[in-house]
């Protein structure tokens, strides 16, 4: 079985039990949208009315492993999960590692579309050519680890790969995650709640087929070259040794590490939250890799003594340590690990979970709520026991947990007072723990992102100029390495434009965005070479970036149909109204003025309308997206 250059699409309707298959071999379409995230987005836009309510069973969820997933291309095992978010009510793309996507490929599936709603709790079982909907009544209520164990026992197959939800998804928590390979999260946007609404507990896959590439010799050469680049990239070994939290110390040092719900920008002693500490204090037991990744930045940790003895989990990542630790005013390593374990097994996004808890703690700080309102919990900053209890209460929708389970935007509306002012969200998505008031490419990227304010559509880390490679990249994008400083508004639009295109293209290929946007050892030429060798469709670096731009534009069109325009390209209020405490530069705020200026430049680079921030007819035609021109030939 050879999957490239073609897309094997399997669609499942949980309402009718119908399974259909389609083979897409149109080389023009494949070259234009690459595959994975790109094809899925195009297909979604063509077949689904954006107005279809996310809670409507007909609203689909799409699993799209990368074009290269299943091959030995380094760090190519990632899968995009695409849906209309039940929380933000906008287009949403998440992306997850682990081994689930590769199993889909070995089962002969490049794209899995699930819609409808099963009558009772069910799971989807895919074994090579066989696709069946099975009863999951016995799995309902089980956590993610139990679910994996029970399905493996039921099938007598320890190798079956699951993407599943925990109790949080069943309870439709707004930020319930989908957990792949147990500890990898398609975390953001409420994909878990969407699955819960479909009565879909899990998708279980085993595949025994082949993945083949069109030009094996050429492919081997490109892979060999990338290994060499990887070994020379300065950031790879630190990431491998200390995980994503390797970034916490330097971020804290430049006062850009959000503490206490973005009220402060650093901790006096941040060391217990760092990757080096996880190693030195003995929490780290193993470095873990996603499928086909030689870097292995994921962690497996255990807590062997103290209050949280017996805790074990994948993680904690940078964002988790920031969201459930520093943001809650805590640097209790074991406490964060415990909260992380619970999020993983209940199926909760750690970023939004932490964001909601921090917001509640600030509500208490400002007298909008009391410990008594929270059932007697001590809501003072830094209490890790409280954080852990709140994680459980959110997953189970108990007490104040039920309020938080709707996400911070909705919780602030219900709480009232001034609490919306410190609800650090925009467009319904809690901001990831990035201090955008000290990083203006991030600020622009977060404001214009189709999904809302986080780093997982565009990761312009290079603007900090933290490595030789980062400075060189900024030099290449802007013409001068001097722009590799995050306090400038100049050239941020150029930086964001480059990063959003390559991020989208990386997702299409299944390549980890760390490789293309953080450690910078895979560039657009490498992506083009990998794609050409794998599929036999020869494309160049420019084609790769243009495909990325098409995807960004399509996502924009989806949100445009829902009425979102320039006015909605915003950041959380706090970051636009309050100056960052302890910043190392002046004007440490995301002022409307500076954001407006950057947005003007950004829309201009897209040839979008400056006033509305929307794609123009010319910009659509230039990208070959004529079918989406209003009044054009949209099928």
């Amino acid at each position: 079985m050879s999957f490239v250059p073609s897309i094997r699409m399997v669609s499942v309707d949980l309402s009718t039990g119908q399974v259909s298959r389609r083979l897409i071999e149109d080389r023009e379409i494949l070259g234009k949208f690459l595959g994975g995230r790109g094809y899925a987005t195009w297909s979604l836009l063509k077949t689904v009315d954006p107005h279809l309510d996310a809670d409507n069973p007909e609203s689909p969820i799409v699993f799209a492993p990368g074009v290269l997933t299943g091959t030995s291309a380094p760090s190519s095992g990632r899968t995009s999960v695409i849906f209309k978010s039940p929380v933000t009510r906008r287009f949403f793309k998440t992306n997850v590692g682990g081994h689930f996507g590769a199993q889909l490929k070995f089962a002969g599936i490049d794209l899995l579309v699930v819609k409808g709603r099963a009558l009772r709790p069910s799971f989807l079982l895919i074994r090579d050519d066989s696709v069946e909907i099975r009863d999951a009544s016995h799995l309902w209520g089980m956590d993610v680890r139990e679910t994996n164990r029970l399905v493996r026992e039921e099938l007598d197959d320890p190798e079956v790969q699951l993407a599943c939800i925990g109790p949080a998804g069943e309870n439709r928590v707004a930020f319930a995650s989908i957990q792949a390979s147990i500890y990898n999260s398609a975390g953001r946007g409420g994909g878990g709640a969407l699955m819960g609404g479909k009565n879909l507990k899990a998708i279980a896959v085993t595949g025994t087929g082949d993945v083949q590439v069109a030009r094996p010799e050429q492919f081997r050469d490109v892979v060999r070259r990338l290994w060499k680049k990887m070994s020379q990239a300065s950031g790879v070994q630190p990431l491998s040794d200390y995980g994503t939290s390797v970034g916490i110390e330097p971020t804290n040092a430049i006062h850009a590490f959000p503490v206490k719900n973005f009220q402060e920008s650093g901790m006096e002693d941040v060391s217990p939250l760092t990757g080096t500490y996880l190693v030195e204090a003995g929490y780290l037991k193993r470095k873990i890799a996603c499928f086909s990744c030689p870097v292995a930045c994921h962690r497996f940790v255990t807590v062997d003594s103290g209050r949280f003895q017996g805790t074990y989990t994948g993680g904690p990542e940078y964002e988790t340590l920031a969201a459930l630790g520093a943001g809650c005013g805590s640097s209790d390593t074991a406490g964060v690990i415990k909260a992380n374990e619970l999020c993983n097994i209940f199926g909760l996004d750690t970023i939004s979970t932490g964001a909601c808890i921090q917001w509640l703690m600030e509500c208490r700080q400002r007298g909008v709520t009391t410990d008594a309102d929270a059932g007697g919990l001590d809501l003072s900053w830094g209490n890790s026991e409280t954080v852990i209890e709140l994680v459980k209460m959110i997953a189970e929708r108990r007490g104040v947990g039920d309020l938080l389970a709707e996400g911070v935007q909705s919780a602030a509306r219900k709480m009232g007072g001034d609490s919306a002012r410190w609800a650090v969200q925009a467009n319904g998505l809690e901001q990831s723990r990035v201090e955008t008031r000290s990083a203006f490419s991030y600020a622009l990227a977060f404001a214009v992102s189709s999904r809302g304010p986080d780093h997982l559509n565009t990761e312009p880390l290079a603007e900090f100029g933290g490595s030789v490679e980062a400075r060189a990249l900024i030099g290449r994008i802007t013409g001068d390495e001097k722009y590799a400083t995050s306090f400038l508004t100049e050239k941020r639009a150029e930086i964001v434009r480059w990063h959003e295109d390559i991020y989208a293209a990386s997702d299409c290929l299944g390549i980890c965005a760390f490789a293309t946007t953080a450690q910078l050892w895979v560039d657009e030429q490498d992506l083009a070479d990998l794609y050409s060798a794998a599929t036999g469709i020869s494309i160049n670096a420019k084609d790769i970036m243009t495909a990325g731009q098409r995807i960004i534009t399509l996502e924009r069109l989806f949100n445009q149909a829902l009425g979102f325009t320039r006015e909605n390209d915003i950041l959380p209020r706090r970051l636009m109204e309050e100056t960052q405490a302890g910043a190392l530069h002046e004007n440490a705020v995301n002022s409307a003025d500076s954001l407006d200026r950057m947005k003007d430049e950004y829309y201009a680079l897209h040839s979008w309308d400056r006033r509305t921030g929307l794609p123009t007819e010319a910009s659509l035609r230039k990208l070959g997206l004529d079918e989406f021109v209003p009044g054009g030939t949209r099928p």
Binding site: N148, A289, S292
Partner: protein, 160 residues
């Protein structure tokens, strides 16, 4: 003679060994075709690479009734003569490590045993975490001894 030395503590579960094996032998990516396999307990994130241990008194060779298995004098790898093999699977049953398997390639069954890639095992070259090493037979124990020594020494120094 060189042999494999596996260290599960270092294995990250990336499966690049399996992918490079199947690519080298069959030109396709397929874990089922790989002569090296990584067994995993995902819950505990434990991954154990397993491949032919190149037993001196190889049970697989002894079990073969067709005279299809022989040892390569250079690398020590057990090689399969597909023309003689009658696919009885006695070798697979005999292997104490489960490293002989019946695989299916282009719809034809065949016996798969690690052939050490003629002395340059590809799985080793893609194992960045060095969970799979290919070392001189005589050095296997020394490496283990050194690691134990370092572990003990490290514990002492952190205790004091």
């Amino acid at each position: 003679m060189k042999v494999f030395l596996m260290d599960p503590e270092k294995c990250t579960g990336c499966r690049l060994c399996e992918l490079s094996c199947s690519l080298t032998r069959y030109g396709a990516f397929n874990r089922e075709l790989s002569a090296i396999r990584v067994e995993s307990n995902e819950d505990l994130s434990l991954h154990v690479p397993v491949s032919c241990m190149q037993c001196r008194e190889a049970p697989c060779i002894r079990a073969c009734v067709a005279g299809a298995l022989r040892r390569d004098s250079g690398t020590g790898a057990v090689l399969v003569d597909a023309d003689r093999c009658i696919l009885c699977k006695a070798c697979a049953v005999a292997c104490p490590f489960g490293c002989v398997s019946l695989v299916r390639w282009k719809d034809a069954p065949r016996i798969g045993i690690c052939d050490l890639c003629s002395g340059e095992p590809q799985c080793v070259s893609v194992c960045r975490s060095q969970a799979i090493a290919y070392v001189d037979e005589g050095k296997v124990n020394r490496k283990k001894r050194m690691e134990d020594y370092e572990r003990v020494f490290h514990n002492r120094s952190t205790e004091s």
